[in-house]
């Protein structure tokens, strides 16, 4: 490893981290603006032109807010929990390709931090440990609402991780690699969402649950649990939880774009590799808009129904998706995959519809 | 993998497949008629048994040396499957009357049984480990099946904690053996030792750790402390299955690993094994004397029997008598299985709800009111003691003979002396049955009674015609590809 490549690596890490932090700040603004538009409001418009400095104002406010540590809280873990939450969110994108190779100052620079042959596993591993911050925050606050939030989140994330992990398998099978670079490369002719429509849908639903977004925002369900696991947090510590949630939103959108929507590849990217990050950003914004849209529209699912949905619907569906993907690949008829999976998906939806209607009619809850 | 691989493990595949089908079938069986599941699982075990018997003869390995198919494996498979049938017969009415009848009982029993079957064939330490897990984990659950009854839950937790503790020993031991021999297949280890490529010290430590791990499973003293509580707390039908199945499987692994792979370590191992066997016999028998609860009594008796069987392990380095030694151990296991099931069946017959009717005193008056039952119990007690003409006598006879052939007179003497001690507490049960007045409460249940009847007959009849069985057991010597 030469000194030059070390510097390159450090600079890239710094750029990614700062990119994510800026992205977080402006994602909050985007969300508030989009929600306001949907809800016939105006949204933030005071700080700067079109409210563009709003994130800055929020940050200043949060920094100067009083930090309260409840006297009966477990102080060490109470302070550690927000940090534990943020770190996985920041490092999860380490294996993601942001673009091809560009030439800058006469240096060939690859627009990604690392290319692991276990890239997808790295993502699942980091996703699976990102739950600790929430659980520990809930526990250390010594507050029943926070505790319930923490327990809910651990159960929810474990449950949805299965479906999430299984939805990774479609792209892995299709590209024959666990490296995200290879997966992007394999999508050159056609995005995997074409072969994996159901897989992409499962991935998206499961990530909504993983990042605790509506309608799966159980752990922080403010109407039930006041604020869930971060009830007792204030000031910068609260901001860290907030930051983690939004960075995770960006991260999962970027991962979804990479796995199913061709990653950084799009028109003209071959000629001008510098367009790669731009296209990726565009895809991420479209996916983020979807998340915000869902939040504005849907009511929250009840906790037990959420678990039932994850285990009884999403998980079997993900298994079926893997199964049919494998069949399509073995038979070398890839066009079979979307047909079969969509058929299974529709069948499952109809079945669930029938059984739910029957349940409502039978007056059992 | 090819077709012959699959046919080799056909009994196992049948068992597992049947169990998984039963999980689905269970959905369509109404809650009050779960007895059907007992019949269905018995049918599955019988099919597997028929296949196992048909496979008899021939020696081969399968799945790239992971499993071995030889006389030993077939013998044990048949023993396990018959034990499974007996366990279902014992459980059928018992769990109904204890109010814990759920179809998962039979499904878990079948999974445990498939673990045992796999153990019979295992020829690789990793398979031995997985088989051990596969047979233990359902047993942990079965031990706690009577929840929320506290003693059952406690039994399950204790069994689980010590079981997983011992698994950790097996894992680390296997790792060290892998480090020593660069492989974990038993033929591979043998080959490595033979050509001198193995690191003997690592191998030694590894073998010792595996011995500790398996020692927990078969309850060799000093790794026996869980046994009484678990045997007492678990539902009796589970205890019977656990006592026979888990112990036999543990010995299958011990015999396979120590008789074949680690026999070159004999110089270091034999004194340890000698001491363990002697300790187990002495402690098991002496502690059993003071037990008032029949389940605890049988638990300590089972520890004592572990001691007798582990006597054969001291002969590991004498290849000329290996055949006899393994044959004797297998024969003893059969004798122990038959007698145990009989004795546990009697215990279950007398057990009421809430753990009543489990004291030796509760057997008073049995001889007068239920002479047949008392006679059967007497046969089992005599067989446990080792009095002719019972299977137990012949089992002990073959074991002592093998040990004497190996030249361990001292151990044999300890064995005989402790047998005499054991006569005291076994005969105490008989004395209580015939000499004391009492009003024993007995259930008349078809499958239970027929189990008692058949095991009692077998204990006597088979002992008279024991030679073919012993010959068969001795022929089941392990096939070791050179």
């Amino acid at each position: 490893m030469t000194t030059g490549s070390v510097w390159e690596w450090i600079i890239k890490s710094v750029v990614i981290v700062f990119g994510l932090l800026t992205g977080f700040a402006y994602l909050t603004l985007l969300e508030r603006k989009v929600l306001a538009k949907i809800q016939v409001r105006i949204g933030p418009n005071r700080a700067g032109p079109m409210g563009l400095f709003q994130p800055l104002a929020d940050a200043i406010k949060l920094i100067f807010k009083e930090e309260i540590i409840p006297s009966r809280a477990d102080k060490i873990i109470f302070v550690l929990a927000p940090i534990i939450t943020v770190i996985p969110a920041l490092i999860i994108l380490g294996v993601l390709p942001f673009g091809g190779i560009i030439t800058l100052f006469g240096r060939q620079i690859s627009l990604s931090l690392a290319d692991l042959n276990v890239g997808v596993l790295y993502i699942t591993a980091i996703a699976s440990i990102s739950i600790y911050g929430i659980v520990l925050a809930g526990w250390s606050s010594n507050n029943k609402y926070a505790m319930l939030g923490g327990i809910r989140s651990s159960a929810q994330m474990i449950s949805y991780e299965l479906a999430l992990g299984l939805s990774f398998i479609g792209p892995i099978l299709l590209s024959g690699s666990m490296s995200l670079h290879d997966i992007v490369a394999a999508q050159k002719p056609l995005w995997f969402v074409v072969y994996q429509p159901v897989g992409a849908l499962i991935f998206w639903i499961a990530t909504l649950a993983e990042v605790n977004r509506a309608p799966f925002d159980m752990p922080e369900a403010e109407q039930e649990l006041t604020a869930g696991y971060h009830t007792e947090y204030s000031g910068m510590k609260f901001a860290l939880f907030f930051m983690a949630e939004y960075i995770k939103m960006i991260a999962v959108s970027a991962i979804a774009a990479t796995l199913f929507f061709g990653g950084y590849r799009f028109v003209l990217e071959d000629q001008y590799p510098i367009l790669g990050p731009v296209w990726l950003l565009g895809k991420v914004i479209v996916l983020l808009f979807g998340m915000i849209w869902v939040r504005a529209t849907l009511p929250r699912i009840r906790y037990d129904r959420l678990m039932a949905f994850g285990w009884k619907f999403l998980f079997p569906l993900a298994l079926a998706n893997v199964f049919f993907t494998a069949i399509g690949i073995v038979l070398e008829k890839l066009w079979l995959i979307p047909l079969l999976t969509i058929a299974v998906f529709l069948g499952a939806v109809v079945m669930v519809g029938i059984s739910e209607t029957r349940r409502w009619r039978s007056h059992v809850f | 993998m090819n077709f012959s691989d699959l046919t080799t493990i056909l009994p196992l595949i049948t068992l597992v497949g049947w169990a998984i089908i039963l999980i689905l079938v269970d959905l369509f069986i109404p809650a009050q008629r779960k007895g059907i599941m007992a019949m269905l699982s018995a049918i599955g075990i019988m099919i597997s048994l028929v296949i196992a018997i048909c496979q008899f003869g021939g020696q081969t390995t399968a799945f790239s040396g992971m499993v071995v198919f030889d006389g030993f494996s077939v013998f044990l498979q048949i023993l396990f499957l018959i034990s499974g049938l007996a366990a279902i017969a014992l459980a059928y009415d018992y769990i109904k009357r204890q109010g814990i009848e759920r179809s998962e009982y039979y499904i878990l029993l079948m999974f445990s049984l498939s673990g045992m079957t796999l153990m019979a064939m295992a020829d690789d330490l990793i398979i031995i480990f997985l088989a051990l897990e596969l047979l233990s984990i359902p047993l942990y659950v079965l031990a706690g099946f009577a929840n929320p009854r506290l003693d059952s839950e406690e039994a399950a937790l204790k069994y689980f904690l010590l079981g997983s503790f011992s698994d950790a020993f097996v894992v680390f031991g296997t790792a060290l053996v892998f480090g020593a021999a660069r492989t974990t297949t038993i033929p591979g280890i043998i080959a490595a030792i033979t050509v001198g490529a193995a690191n003997l010290i690592l191998l030694m430590v590894g073998a010792a750790l595996i011995l500790i791990g398996l020692g927990f499973k078969v309850s060799i003293v000093p790794f026996h402390m869980w046994t009484p509580d678990v045997y007492q707390g678990a539902p009796s039908s589970v205890t019977a299955f656990m006592a026979v199945g888990a112990k036999t499987a543990g010995f299958a692994a011990l015999l396979r690993v120590f008789m074949a792979a680690f026999n070159t370590l004999a110089v270091d191992l034999v004194p340890v094994l000698w001491a363990l066997a002697a300790l187990t016999m002495i402690l098991g028998n002496i502690t059993a004397i003071v037990q008032g609860n029949i389940k605890r009594l049988l638990a300590y008796s089972s520890i004592a029997h572990t001691g007798y069987i582990s006597m054969v392990l001291v002969t590991i380095n004498q290849s000329r008598i290996t055949q006899h030694a393994v044959g004797a151990a297998l024969f003893y296991l059969v004798a122990y299985a038959v007698t145990s099931f009989g004795a546990w069946a009697v215990v279950i017959t007398l057990e009421h709800s809430e753990g009543k009717g489990l004291n030796v005193e509760d057997y008073a008056g049995l001889g007068r009111k239920y002479p047949a039952l008392a006679a059967a119990m007497t046969v089992f007690m005599l067989s446990f003691t080792g009095v002719p003409p019972t299977l137990g006598f012949l089992g002990k006879f073959y074991i002592f003979r093998a040990v004497l052939e190996g030249g361990y007179v001292g151990l044999a003497i300890i064995g005989v002396l402790t047998s005499l001690v054991s006569a005291y507490y076994y005969l105490r049960v008989v004395v209580v049955m015939y000499m004391r007045e009492g009003e024993p409460l007995v259930r008349k249940e078809f499958w239970l009674s027929s189990t008692i009847f058949m095991t009692a007959i077998a204990t006597v009849i088979v002992s008279i015609f024991s030679t073919p069985l012993f010959t068969w057991a001795s022929k089941g010597i392990m096939f070791i590809p050179k």
Partner: protein
Amino acid sequence: MTLNYALFFILAAIAIASALGMLLSKNAVYSALFLILNFNVVAIFYVLLNAPFIALTQITVYAGAIMVLFLFVIMLLGAEQTGRISSARWVKPAAYSLGIILISEILYIIFAQTGVIPDAASIAAEFGSPVTVGKALFSRYLLPFEATSVLLIASMIGAIVLTKRKS
């Protein structure tokens, strides 16, 4: 080279310290956290030992699933306070001396054999990658792989049986 040694000894110290922390913590949640730290450090060792697949599986399975379950149960039961360390007075010193004897014995045996354990065979670049592990799993180790799946089904049924509410 010295960097490697330094890295190893620092990580090993963390691993041992966290294991001891697990052992000695009065609070079960802290014990679980120390164990998680230990598992993560061990995962780093796996990376150093050219086992990236296993390393990430370790994090996913142990840190991500098993320990979450532990924490979940501890919190659910409110069983943080683990009470005193041991029952009888003699157990503790006896166990410690036993542990020290055990450790020194094993260490002696192993380091006495340092020459015998070969150091780092030369390996292919693909060693330990998902592809090679997968190929081994589905060829030579097919039977254990299937046995594992049966094991998981059995334990799943077992766990459900144990926790299902009786009506």
